[in-house]
């Protein structure tokens, strides 16, 4: 890897960017994600987490939580908001917004 190698292709985060984060005192994947934006794009870390782990090991960053992956969050698979909205309309628990809106004044 050179300093211009991309660690995160979704958000254009390079090795140099990650080195700057380490230099600033960020030594866990959670922190480097937030400082550089790596892992916040469409792949949500699927591509970039392993290259970052490799880099952190190369840089000698240690600590029990340094290489812990950032939190996995929904969605696990792609689903459109349209499909989710249709699911909601089939559910009686969720009022649909077009049915006589009741304002609440508190």
């Amino acid at each position: 890897m050179t300093t211009r190698t991309f660690i995160c292709r979704c958000e254009d985060v390079t090795v140099k960017d990650c080195d700057a984060a380490i230099e600033a005192g960020f030594e866990t994947i959670e922190e480097i994600k937030r400082f550089t934006g790596m892992g916040t794009g469409p792949c949500q870390g699927r591509e970039c987490m392993v290259p970052l782990c490799t880099l952190l090991q190369e840089r000698g960053v240690e600590g029990s939580d340094a290489l812990a992956p950032f939190t996995a969050r929904p969605p696990a698979a792609q689903i459109s908001l349209g499909a989710l909205a249709d699911g909601a309309r089939e559910s009686t628990a969720i009022p649909t917004p077009t049915s006589s809106p009741e304002g609440e004044d508190s």
């Binding site: 969050r73 349209g82 309309r89 077009t98 009741e102 004044d105």
Partner: protein, 353 residues
Amino acid sequence: MGRRDAPLPEAVDLAIIGGGVMGLATAYELSKRAPERRICVIEGSYLVSGASGRNGGGVRSQWGDAGNVAIMRESLAICRGLAQTLNINLWFRRGGYLFLARSDASAARLARNIAVHRSVGAPTEQLTAREAKELVPELDVSNVRAATFNSEDGVVFPWPFVWGYASEASARGVAIRTHTRVTGLGEARHAGHDGYDLTLHTGESLWARRVLNATGAWSPVLNEMLGIDLPNRPHRHEIISTEPLKPFLDPLVVDLDSGLYFSQSTRGEIVTGVTMHDVPGGEDDRVNLGTSLEFLERMAANLTAVLPLARALHPVRQWSGPYDISPTATPSSVALLDTPTSSRCVASRVMDS
């Protein structure tokens, strides 16, 4: 900026517990006014781990209380020059906030708000449904009865606020210690002054003349150590961001009847959430950062009704963050522990703000 190995003095004038935007902004502002003060910030995790790193980034003056409107206008005014002051890109975009009302009750609330806003000089305008659609042609306004718009409001990317305040405070001598939990807090005199002893999970301890509890929704834990029981509790709010689109949406839009809001970040994502009156999984006295399908479906149903093009959009991430809520929905969590001996009258200690 913060480090897990930042050295802490044995005694400080002010210990700020909580490395969120509130604690760090206070540290920065005080270090500018009083460079001789010894200030430290102690964060239990990393710097944007709390609500400061989990929110939708809205900054608006359109509130219901005149005092809140005035304070938020001041925040907006500070935000204008803050990127230069803090030397960091805050991604502050002033696209305004557009509120939509689909019921008479909500329309009445907007009308009342306009009067409140004007009383403190905020330029909120009343709009018709048609005018709202002119601002955002992609909206379905068929049920909209009234709208308000304030062009001063805007959105930010919340993380750089924290980095910016942390790095400028640090440059002014504030010690910022991360990944360090306060495990004990009690009154103690030192060199003839009243103050507090702090014990840290690392086994270290330090004395502080004053303590600022800036841990937001986590604040009851620290308050308990001093026997303080305030009625503020964490309230979980969920949020999603979608795949990015070309920029098309200027204002942050709020549908007052459902509590839906959505904006387009500078990165192009739609960032959106909706009010859940009952937090899925139940209320909890401790912070809960989970997510739910109930939220996702409710948000999707409401968003696609107001913004039909969103039907084709895919969420990229769903997360949550805590609001720190008091019974009057007013701030309570930034508690300043100040001069213990003078303060036994209420909640056993004086606390401000």
